[in-house]
Amino acid sequence: MAGWAHHLIIAPVVLPLVAGALLAVYDERRQFLKGLINLLSTLANLAIAILLLQAADTNAPGVYLLGNWPAPFGIVLVLDRLSAMMILLTAVLATASLIFSMARWHTVGHHFHTLFQFLVMGVNGAFLTGDLFNLFVFFEVMLASSYGLLLHGSGPRRVQASLHYVVVNLTAAFFFLIGVALIYGVTGTLNMADLATRIPTLTGESRILLEVGAGILATAFLVKAAMWPLGFWLLSAYPAAVPPVAAIFAILSKVGLYVLLRGRPLLFGSDAGEAAGYGATLLFAGGLATIAFGILGVLASQAMARIASFSLMISSGTVLAAIGLSDAQVTSGALFYLASSTLTISAFFLLIELIERGQNPGADLIAVTAEAIGAEPDEEDAATEGGMGAPGTLALLGACFVACALLLVGLPPLSGFVAKLALIAALFAPAGEGATAGLAAANWAFIVLLLLAGVATLMTLSRVGIRAFWAPVDAVVPRILAVEVAPVAGLLLLTLVLAVKGGPVMQYMDETARSVLAPSSYVEDVLSAPRVPPARAGAQ
């Protein structure tokens, strides 16, 4: 990328920052204007994310030197296939949940739009940065906004859940800081590419200190990724959040996974000397334990939001276990699974509210809250709703529910099946360096758990689906707006696109997995990134 296109790399951070700041200026009475600004910014972000994905797919990784300082000294932003893919995923989820929130949810509390933009900024920044401390800053931006968004809508349940969520995440932030400080104390650098070149030279006590630091640092990400037994906070936080917030929160646990996916091969890959392979077994075992816990949780759950949260844990566990195996094929399958399952769970969180609106007494409460704040959504609802007949609504919701179930279980024809197929096929034919007899047992365990997760999800979702759609004799047909169904249907259609375009997508994932697991070119690109010459800098 050359010229102005190079500056696109920083756009996913700057755009939400500017939009968020602008949104803070207007007060809550100008909801329409705020919504419009937010929507424009989110759509622009989506367009930028698509451009970045194309750029990352065709070119070498783009390295953006902030302040024109050369790599190990200044902070760098790095755009490669993995970060581009995650940014696009964020942009898609943001668009869907924003459109969903426009129906009523953005008016049930204050500063929804500002916090929403800052959340997107923090997530994008965390995906782009190539510097550990900068990662902490973006993490905190993301978390601070997520605290606000979790509180959105208020009520005792959300405040209580927020209290736990904030305390857990603040504690995780301490782990983050201690880890970063230890790593800096041992190596004297915070640039991830520079770290990768220095780690092989460490021996003896320094190496042990570094591994301790990395372990403490990883704890922070494992808390975020909800690995068992660090993920209990998720079960009270996500179901308590308002649906559009829960839908965008589906990407937050992926930020933890992203850092582990990026960091483990980079810092402790096969080139890391004595420290090579650090943490792989733990990540694999932790991933399997998370899947197992998720399976039990899904089986035991009654409420749909809890099922969605446990599914999120299963999805986290699957990717964690794949990271632990560090095999190119498995990683590639896991990346596909990550994209597919994030879209699915996000859609599911939105769908749950639509299904439960007819049955849940909580829905009335929310309407009361909205009224107290001064919004009058109901008259508008009734006017725009007219076209959608009652049986049609239920059929549409049912179809979306079936699609979600197929995706979560991993049955054809949607992308959940392709993802699980890719994962299991890769597990049956290990091509990595460590293809030994001992590994086969681990692979078997992983395969069995993946299939069990599918069975458990199928059983639970059938039970819940029957209760929601078939059992009620005098079913209350929920009143639903087109803007509420559209994002759910859009996300589900995207998973169909993922499945239909499985070939090219899988190829992209393959190349991503290869470059993630062989990070030498990443390191080289970052450390040799050219500075902008002074004359040209003046001209711009």
Partner: protein
């Protein structure tokens, strides 16, 4: 100096963790603040303990060995600001939880 600092960090972190595990929200907040202090001191100490060495270049004469490592100091500054902001936010949540549930227990109800 190293022993003194290590003891201080240990006492702060130990008290912080103990308070963090208490059932009252206010104790949790104070515990988090103490932990934050311990963590900040820890980051600071990772730049090696020096006295009388400035972190910022004062003149071009002399060697870099005369100066303290500025990076941990910058990191601590950032960590302090972020910790401060999040503690303020936590206090708001704490007050809201107290108002809504009528108790200052972290679970919103006495056992």
């Amino acid at each position: 100096m190293a022993l003194l600092l290590a003891t201080c960090i240990g006492i702060l972190a130990g008290s912080g963790v103990w308070l963090l595990l208490r059932p009252r929200t206010f104790q949790v907040v104070i515990g988090l603040s103490l932990c934050a202090l311990a963590v900040n001191l820890f980051i600071f100490s990772m730049g090696r303990l020096r006295s009388g060495a400035p972190p910022v270049l004062a003149s071009t004469s002399g060697t870099l060995a005369d100066y303290a490592d500025p990076v941990p100091q910058a990191l601590v500054l950032t960590a302090i600001v972020i910790g401060f902001a999040t503690t303020a936010l936590l206090l708001v949540v704490l007050l809201a939880a107290r108002g809504l549930t009528g108790t200052d227990h972290v679970d919103g109800q006495e056992r």
